[in-house]
């Protein structure tokens, strides 16, 4: 089983989900389940922290797009924290940097959003 770390903390009314490891077709269902669960609990202001993610592909991106859609239909918001060039690159190529608010730190995400 591939490790996918999911650590939830709270910051100024935001649910901050720190993800670590590799997000692909094997692990993305766990991330999706966690995000769906948060929205189900009424947590619709979510920061997904990708700083400790070593790898993400389109399956992982799809989960994040799905979560964004889900929080928006519940009048919430979803922001990302990501500074790693290899992770940012897949967001840039797919045009998703225009879809997501991508911040440099959890502080920046929770203050500005």
């Amino acid at each position: 089983m591939i490790e996918l770390g999911l650590e939830l903390t709270e910051r100024d009314g935001w649910a901050v989900l720190a993800v670590s490891g590799e997000v692909d077709v094997a692990t993305a269902p766990r991330l999706r389940e966690r995000l769906v669960g948060l929205v189900g609990e009424g947590r619709t202001r979510i920061v997904v922290d990708l700083e400790k993610v070593d790898f993400i592909d389109s399956t992982g991106l799809g989960v994040l797009v799905g979560a964004l859609k889900r929080v928006r239909t519940n009048e919430g918001d979803l922001a990302l924290v990501c500074t790693g060039p290899r992770i940012l690159k897949v967001f840039e190529i797919t045009g998703l940097t225009k879809v997501f608010a991508i911040h440099r730190s959890v502080d920046e995400a929770t203050v500005s959003a």
Partner: protein, 155 residues
Amino acid sequence: MKDDVVHLRVPAQPEYLALVRMVIAGTARIDPLLDDERVDDLRVIVSEACTNAIEALRVRAHDQGIDPAALDSTIAIECHLSSSRVEVIIADEGGGFDPDDLDALPAVTDPSRLRIERGLGIPLIRALSDEAEITSGPEGTRVRVVLDAEAPVST
């Protein structure tokens, strides 16, 4: 450097994907022909191609009303190393899709695009490779990509 080929065949199941990425990235680092960033590109490419194969198998299993693992389907990966480039071929065993259909998707910035959580894989494969060729038919889908070495070795 002579042309070397590494062959890998894995069950078409999600839990083998990390292994495939590790082996192909490790292979591309032999010599090394590609810098770290291009090796990362290759990891994404291989992951996308294998994911498509796994998804195609899921669709086929669903159509037949059986568990995907029961199909005993595999993905064959070949990694060719030469002095100037790395060529990788990823081939599955059927249940293909039409890569040309992808043009029908709205742009990612279009709000309606949020309804579609898939379809980003093939654009990534094309964008991250120097050459990409995707062919699909009843016998399976074959993805061939080439990543050129930054500075070709002089002969």
